[in-house]
């Protein structure tokens, strides 16, 4: 059995296990066990990936498996990974692991909660391993739909509204994507033998005008999930209403689907359009970064703060993608991972704090670090990663992006880089303001004096994420190596069409 298919099989088995579990204690154990197995599988995958690369195998995709599905439409089940997907799979498995732990004490309809959560993860894993656009799309939608229930049933606040908005906007995105995918499909061949196989399509030179037609569909379609300005508004509402683990998974992983898809599908397969249209999206991304950061300052709700911060940070991903040189692409992927971890940690902590104080308004809290030191410290670490402090992953990612983007020959890109880099100041403002109000100062509500600090599962959940953050922050080279080798085929395809962008380091 291909190890990649195992990544889908394990969650599926876990879901079945959850269904037949008799009591709620067993349910969560099964879920945790399944996700630990998944994490181990992902680790095995990563190490064997390194081993394969070390052995000198230079296939673009490894663990490649191709099973024919719908013959007449030439739809296949094709899986395969390169360094980028491996990195994303690692990210996902870490976050779902932490997410299960963070939702350890979900009581209401617990079985269903875990099933939906793992279903979501299944979709994400499937998305990352798919090389066939059809299956990729299928997994994409599988990943999106459980969100509705997760938010709608277990959420807080105006949950129905948020869940509906989120789902509809994301499905609207997938609607656009679908047009793009079909466009790719029907232009994937010269002799009338169409294919959804990404690696095959990549070999075809799709005419420029067709690319120009379909690229926006795909890019915006994925971009909506990646909170591309101005289609980001599902994100604050959605995150604010979602239960902890869902926010974690959603901001941590699901939003990365957007970036990853935009990169893997839109840019890789339609490089000419990517080059000629990049200026639009790079402007949007710049707006998104700065605007998101400014919008945070005014927010009072912790989740809104983090949601807008996410808008800003995933804007950085889009920005880096659109710069299209090796360094910046590398940075984009690392930013995906870094933001995934950071924001997951953030949401986990917000959830844990909310579970104790029953409010998310920073004005109603204060001095919490005194009563819940572990959560407080973890919160500060998350904050510091958000503002890009060295030693944590946020810095690495931002640094690579800025350096990469600034290497662009075009003065336009460099000016935008400066604009985008200004977000580090704004992020410092909002992060410190939030930390200052929430954790420092006098305890504002005397009930909060009786709060208990994190329990073991909360510590494990946050600890795992912190370890990853610090690990990447301190030693980023292995991650960068993991990614950058796999960038070359994509990059070379992008470069092929850039008469403008020749000056790459």
């Amino acid at each position: 059995m291909n190890i990649l298919s195992l990544l889908i099989l394990i969650p599926t088995i876990t879901m079945i296990g959850i269904i037949i579990s008799p009591s709620h204690k067993i349910v969560r154990l099964v879920a945790l066990g399944g996700m630990i197995a998944q994490l181990i599988t992902a680790l095995v995958l990563m190490f064997s990936y390194f081993a394969i690369r070390k052995a000198g195998i230079t296939d673009i995709m490894v663990f490649y498996q191709d099973i024919e599905w719908f013959k007449t439409l030439n739809i296949h089940y094709i899986v395969g990974v390169d360094g980028i997907s491996v990195a994303m799979i690692m990210l996902t498995s870490v976050i779902i692991f932490a997410g299960i732990l963070a939702s350890w004490e979900v009581v209401y309809l617990q079985k269903e909660f875990f099933i939906f959560l793992i279903l979501l993860a299944t979709g994400v894993f499937g998305f990352f391993i798919s090389l066939d656009l059809f299956t990729m799309f299928l997994f994409y939608e599988i990943a999106v739909i459980p969100m509705y229930f997760l938010i709608g049933i277990w959420g807080t606040g105006p949950k129905e509204y948020s869940a509906m908005k989120l789902t509809l906007m994301l499905m609207g995105g997938s609607a656009l994507m679908m047009v793009g995918l079909l466009g790719l499909y029907f232009n994937s061949s010269v002799d009338g033998h169409f294919t959804f196989n990404m690696m095959e399509i990549a070999k075809v030179n799709i005419p420029g005008n067709i690319q120009m037609y379909f690229f926006p569909f795909l890019f915006v379609g994925f971009g909506i999930l990646g909170a591309l300005y101005p289609f980001h508004t599902w994100s604050p509402d959605g995150h604010a209403s979602a239960p902890t683990a869902v926010s974690m998974l959603h901001a941590g992983v699901l939003m990365k689907l957007g970036g990853y898809g935009a990169f893997r599908v839109a840019m890789y397969l339609m490089p000419a359009a990517a080059n000629s249209l990049s200026w639009i999206f790079i402007i949007l991304a710049t707006i998104s970064v700065v605007y998101g950061a400014f919008a945070v300052i005014w927010q009072k709700d912790l989740k809104f703060i983090n949601a807008y911060a996410s808008v800003s940070h995933v804007g950085l991903i889009t920005f880096a993608l659109m710069v299209m040189n090796k360094t910046s692409l590398d940075g984009a992927i690392i930013q995906m991972i870094s933001h995934g971890l950071t924001t997951a940690l953030f949401f986990a902590l917000i959830g844990m704090i909310y579970g104790r104080t029953h409010t998310r308004m920073i004005d109603e809290m204060g001095g919490l670090i005194k009563v819940i030191p572990f959560l407080g410290v973890a919160f500060i670490i998350a904050g510091l990663s958000t503002l890009g402090l060295p030693g944590l992953s946020g810095f690495v990612a931002e640094m690579i992006i800025f350096i990469g983007a600034f290497q662009h020959v075009d003065i336009f890109h460099r000016v935008l880089t400066i604009l985008v880099a200004s977000s580090i100041v704004i992020s410092a403002v909002y992060v410190l303001r939030m930390i200052g109000k929430l954790l420092f100062g006098p305890v504002r509500n005397e009930h909060h004096l009786e709060l208990k600090d994190a329990k073991w599962f909360e510590k494990l959940s946050a600890g795992t994420l912190i370890v990853c953050l610090v690990g990447i922050g301190v030693a980023p080279l292995w991650l960068s190596n993991l990614i950058s080798d796999s960038l070359s085929p994509i990059l070379s395809k992008l470069m092929q069409f850039s008469s403008l962008y020749t000056h790459i380091f």
């Binding site: 739909i145 509906m164 499905m171 609207g172 047009v179």
Partner: protein, 473 residues
């Protein structure tokens, strides 16, 4: 009439036989054992369904009036499965006190409309098609008015009958013009002689209007919601899937085979109808509270999606349409099955009555959710595949704008499907529908639907089979 001919017509002949057997059963059964006719006929029908799956050869009878091939007979099998599920689902309702007297009539009428559809599907000329169409419509009006005590039911019956008559009139006028300008009512001759003069187009459009009534395309759809709401649930389900499916099938065949020569004319026509149907259906569905009405508008929108697939032309088009109908039968019948189970138990059929359903009846809720997802085209259930192939088929003709409109409409439709899901899973309720166990037949029916919803999507062989058959016509 030799055996060969019998085999060719076995769907129809067996059904006729079935009807006769049931009439005899009705005559010879005692008052208190009448309800056994239900299971009796279900078993018979099941046998009929199985027999239908035996291989069939290609051929035509009655000088081309009756045509059968594996594609058509496959479609009939699909309809058979659908009707089997409908029968299973209506049995609980039929056993009710007020319906006890008319059990066999119900079944007979239902089966005779099915006969009509089979003839319609197999028709080789406009005359047979017309007869089939009428046979498929007239008894339905009576069935819609089946609950004679209920005003809504009567209203549904009258509306259906009168609008049906009007549309028949228009259809006939169209056919008469087609006949007048081509000199024949046989499909083959018409196809050879059909041109592009305005009178022919007029005839064609009148014909489309008549068919559009059966498929409930906008603007010929207005009866749909009222009739669906008023008719007994079993009949509503039947109308929305079987009757509609059969009409779409023959409509597709006629468009491709008979009017293939003027496809450049009907392409924009169907395009416009598709857009209008999807959009209007969705816009109306948004506000509905009554589940039957809601499903009516949803089924209108679904018809729009199917039209998108028709525009794919060629094998891909017809395959995607038939495949979608198959998916749609399972899906919609699952939804109606749940609605009918709940209605039979509690008499409730409004969306807000479903609040908190998941807590009391989780299994039914899950079936409903699956069905809704399949309708909305959410993976991994069959609806996703069906819709994807419809859109793929349209995209193969380069109709990307239409695909875009289609997928956006699908997104919009997701909104109201999720509204039902919301009622079931999220909204709290003070007095939710209490737990109940629906009868065996209904459960079997739902089980069939669920299996269908799940299997049809993943089993690529089904799609492949339909594809290989579709090239035969």
């Amino acid at each position: 009439m030799n055996l060969q001919n019998f085999l060719l017509m076995r769907h129809e002949l067996l059904l006729i036989l079935l009807v006769i057997v049931i009439i005899f059963a009705e005559i010879f059964s005692k008052e208190e054992t009448k309800h056994r006719i239900i299971n009796f006929s279900i078993v018979l029908f099941f046998i009929q369904t199985v027999v239908g799956f035996l291989p069939v050869t290609q051929g035509e009878l009655f000088g081309g009036m009756f045509q059968n091939d594996i594609f058509r007979s496959t479609f009939k099998n699909i309809l058979n499965i659908g009707v089997l599920i409908v029968l299973l689902q209506s049995s609980a309702w039929l056993r009710k006190e007020e319906n006890k007297e008319k059990i066999s009539e119900y079944i007979i009428l239902l089966l005779s409309t099915l006969i009509g559809m089979f003839f319609m599907v197999s028709s080789g000329d406009f005359l047979m098609m017309y007869i089939g169409l009428e046979l498929a419509s007239l008894p339905l009006a009576a069935l819609a008015a089946y609950e004679t005590k209920k005003a809504k039911s009567a209203e549904a019956g009258i509306k259906l009958l009168l609008i049906s008559s009007l549309s028949t009139g228009i259809l006939l006028y169209g056919i008469s013009m087609i006949y007048g300008t081509t000199g024949s009512i046989y499909f083959a001759d018409v196809a050879a002689n059909f041109g592009n003069s305005s009178l022919q187009i007029l005839g064609f459009i009148f014909f489309v209007a008549g068919m559009g009534f059966k498929i409930s395309l906008v603007p010929f759809h207005l009866w749909t919601a009222d009739v669906y709401e008023g008719a007994p649930i079993g009949i509503t389900a039947y109308l929305s899937v079987i009757s509609k499916g059969a009409a779409i099938f023959i409509f597709t065949i006629i468009l491709y085979k008979v009017f293939g020569a003027i496809s450049h004319t009907w392409n924009p026509l169907i395009y416009a109808l598709a857009v209008a149907t999807m959009t209007i259906g969705n816009l109306f569905a948004i506000r509905q509270n009554n589940m039957k009405r809601f499903l009516a508008f949803s089924s209108i929108a679904q018809a729009g999606f199917i039209l998108v697939g028709i525009l794919g032309l060629g094998d891909m088009g017809s395959t995607s349409v038939v495949y979608y109908i198959l998916v749609y039968i399972f899906t919609n019948l699952a939804a109606f099955g749940v609605v009918s189970a709940i209605y039979n138990e509690s008499g409730k059929e409004n969306m807000d009555d479903y609040n908190g359903l998941y807590k009391t009846n989780p299994k039914l809720s899950l079936v409903m959710t699956l069905a809704l997802f399949s309708l909305a085209g959410i993976p991994p259930v069959a609806g996703f595949f069906g819709k994807f192939f419809l859109f793929t088929s349209a995209a193969s003709q380069g109709l990307y704008i239409l695909v875009l409109i289609g997928v956006l409409n699908a997104t919009l439709s997701l909104y109201y499907y999720l509204k039902v899901a919301k009622a079931i899973f999220i909204d709290p309720s003070d007095n939710p529908i209490p737990y109940f166990k629906s009868d065996f037949n209904a459960r079997v029916g739902l089980l069939l639907c669920v299996i269908g919803i799940i299997v049809v999507g993943f089993a690529a062989s089904i799609y492949e089979a339909i594809y290989s058959f579709s090239s035969l016509i």
